[in-house]
Assembly symmetry: C2
Homo-oligomer: 498 residues x 2
């Protein structure tokens, strides 16, 4: 069964040929926007627009029917209005199309006649061997073949996260956010009405997908909770599954029923299995990417003893609170580690954890301290506060006040000093980032950075979060570390039972 | 007493003359950086560098001693090393300086001899009438006179929030973040060691300060909890006080003791008074600005009945959950409101709350819906999801794929369409923003926007959050609305008792 789904969905996520049924030259129609996304996104397989009334769309010859296309069609994307979908899907089945995405809405999520139409469509598909995404879906993304069969014009970053979402807007906007934050995805599917393929099928595919190392799910309701739990339990020991469950309150569940055809799962069942199955729950939409990006970037900590480096006392206090809240511990450094830190820090440093850099400007000393902390055998993970992109405020200052910097030279070389200083600051930040990446590699311990998203140096670093992760607050960094540790504990329990 | 502190601290926050004692030409010293900040920041009062070994600093004549300065000195900023501070402070007292900021560290926060030096310094100040900030402080900012007497080169946005922080790094980085987010401050003080002036003094000043409409506090410990509570109770009925209390866990309190001289307050006392005194607690550092910026931008809701507009069902579900979690209610719209919405929305809309725009691209319809919801008498506040900066992903797409847009014209006018579309999209977003601001003004109801910080359209809007507020997730928007409502309830209780 598992191998079956993997093979079947490889036609969806790695198609060699795509037909768009309902393709159009009218720029405000999804029949134009979706194929434009596919072509502009760099898909290199065969592409066949289908429309009985057109001859050329986006420089491609148009076919009257999917059945007129010569050779195999791996994926058909359907954008025609709901009332025309069933006949078109029947033609796909007759053609032997392997997978089909029904973008069109107006089915069971609209109730009444929509539900009847969805049932009719399903009757055509059932038993045919063709697998069907949706209806009422925003489509799929697949990084390995640069496939952007999506309604909104999103160009996600390629990465390791496989993402299935029971909401198109939330899902695709998460892809956009990922792009702004340098967080990459292997695959994405907007689940839609789950008429044929459902959430568990995608989970099963991601479990075996070599391009996917972390699984992210946004769930409002489950059609078959039992099978979902079984697959989740099996998958969790192999890959972390980060899950956001919406519709947990009565008001939320009501809203979920009104926007999609999803059936609300029995909440008590769902809550109960999260921990048991080793899934990691995101409590907020922000935590979805916070946690998934860390799993994609670094190993989980082997224990809960955390070393903290901070550029300011206050952030250290907030971090200590946040770690304690999530059951993590500020490690008490061994004497040897303290002695090593003594050799780098000024004599009046507090000799505790968090290690306070007490205003030290020299970034090489920050890095020396991180190295000492990360290599300390008593430390399982490191949080570094304010040091990644540390020159941010200085960069902003120099950019905004080049005159002040030049004034320091007595005005002898106006407009020379500022760009030079900027370049030095940027190089120093970049070197710091590279050293942290190497340190994670060498120690196999997670190092979480917290830096504040002010203008300047942090923004470009945020766009490169594939091997380091940066959080905008200590609270979010600590919560993420706790999630990584939770998964590590699950793996250990699972190994003990195996 | 209250008037006394207001008059005294007006010399600190609105000085007509400033001396920097320990001013330097050495660019890596705080004695250069702090005065450079003051001058580059646009301070227009008299400025006197003091250093026995220099003649000119930053184009200003240097005085050997503060006592050599002709006329009144309202504010002295001291940057000399700790061991030299007491004699310098004594000269300030002898000169009749009104207020003094001791930037220098190495006092009680360092323990041992540092504590002795701080006691000596305090002996000189006590009873002199001169008020003293610090020591171990990063300084102050004051928008009305463009005073940037700060260690880091931060240029905050001018606004309505008065902010006192028991951490310099956290405080000044919050100012930087505020700048990136368009959140403005009236005053800021880094409290430092509280040798003479303490947190409650600043709170008392902000209470009477006409430039300050919202008060923000970051607190690790209190020297005189009883007086703080008294002043907070009196102030809360006049201005909202948003407070973040760090060091609440044992680990956090330990970290607080090691980095500053702050005394930990009795936690049980502190927690107990928050609600009673009408202060609004920020649970995380992110919530500090989230909540403060909303108080600075709009009135609190008169009740807890919320109307939600969403561009996507999933976000509506998440918002419904978040509102329920914080005790707010999704209002059931009256029939009249439903009929008004019917006239704007497609026939298959769900006729519920959240109002789902079901993919409507026309922003004028979004605004028509917000207007209907905000004007509905049953609604106390509005959350609008994905509509502020709605064109973000389209802007990104057009920017990244100008060719695709031009292709639609058959390549007749290459590179003409894309910029024109971009301009239209931006204008449409800007018009939407302006209409929401007007609607808040007209209805006197808060309208909270949630938009996702992808590249493109949202970022420039984030930089203008003085009359609207934008949150990166529904959860943070809902939490903020709950905080506003909490304050409204306090005001009603207080009025009932008065």
């Amino acid at each position: 069964m598992a191998e079956g789904i993997h093979e079947q969905l490889s036609y969806l996520f790695e198609p060699e040929s795509i037909a768009v049924i309902g393709a159009s030259n009218s720029r405000m129609k999804w029949g134009y926007i979706v194929p434009a996304n596919i072509i502009a996104g760099g898909y290199e397989g065969d592409f066949f627009p289908v429309n009985p009334h057109e001859t050329t769309i986006l420089d491609h010859d148009v076919f009257k029917s999917v059945k007129d296309i010569p050779g195999q069609v791996d994926l058909a994307v359907v954008t025609v209005p709901a009332v025309h979908v069933t006949p078109v899907v029947r033609e796909c089945v007759e053609k032997g199309v392997k997978t089909c995405i029904v973008i069109s809405g107006g089915f069971s999520e609209a109730g009444g006649h929509g539900t009847e139409m969805e049932d009719e469509m399903l009757d055509v598909v059932r038993g045919s061997g063709m697998r069907l995404v949706g209806p009422n879906t925003m489509g799929v993304f697949s990084a390995p073949c640069s496939l952007h069969a999506l309604m909104p014009p999103v160009r996600p970053v390629a990465g390791k996260i496989g993402f299935a979402a029971q909401s198109g807007n939330l899902g695709t906007q998460m892809l956009s956010l990922g792009k702004a934050l340098g967080v990459g995805f292997s695959r994405f599917v907007c689940i839609g009405n789950e008429s044929e393929l459902n959430c568990t099928d995608y989970l099963e595919y991601f479990a075996l997908d070599p391009a996917t190392e972390v699984i992210l799910l946004y769930i409002e309701g489950l059609r078959d909770a039992r099978r979902f739990i079984e697959v989740a339990c099996k998958t969790s020991t192999r890959k972390p599954i980060v899950v956001m469950k919406a519709g947990k309150t009565e008001a939320g569940a009501r809203a979920a029923r009104s926007h999609s055809a999803a059936l609300a799962a029995d909440e008590s069942i769902f809550d109960g299995v999260i921990r048991q199955s080793g899934m990691i729950e995101a409590d907020t939409t922000e935590e979805m990417l916070d946690i998934a990006k860390a799993f994609a970037a670094m190993p989980p900590p082997r224990g809960k003893r955390i070393g903290v480096l901070t550029w300011g006392g206050g952030w250290g206090v907030v971090t200590a609170d946040a770690l304690a809240k999530h059951g993590l511990e500020l490690v008490r450094f061994p004497d040897e580690t303290l002695r090593e830190l003594d050799s780098v820090l000024p004599p009046y440093w507090s000799r505790g954890n968090p290690v306070d850099m007490v205003g030290t400007l020299d970034l090489s000393k920050h890095f020396a301290c991180i190295k000492i902390i990360a290599r300390c055998p008593a430390v399982d993970a490191v949080i570094t506060l304010g040091t990644m992109g540390a020159t941010s405020s200085f960069q902003s200052f120099v950019t905004e006040n080049p005159g002040v910097m030049d004034e320091a030279t007595g005005g002898r070389r106006p407009k020379v000093i500022a760009p030079k200083i900027l370049e030095q600051l940027r190089a120093s930040d970049e070197a710091f980032r590279a050293e942290v990446i190497q340190l994670i590699e060498d120690t196999q311990k997670p190092i979480i950075a917290v830096s504040f998203p002010t203008s300047g140096a942090v923004t470009p670093m945020l766009a490169k979060q594939s091997k380091v992760v940066i959080y905008p607050s200590p609270e979010r960094g600590a919560k993420t570390l706790a999630a990584l540790y939770e998964y590590q504990q699950f793996l250990e329990r699972a190994r003990a039972l195996a």
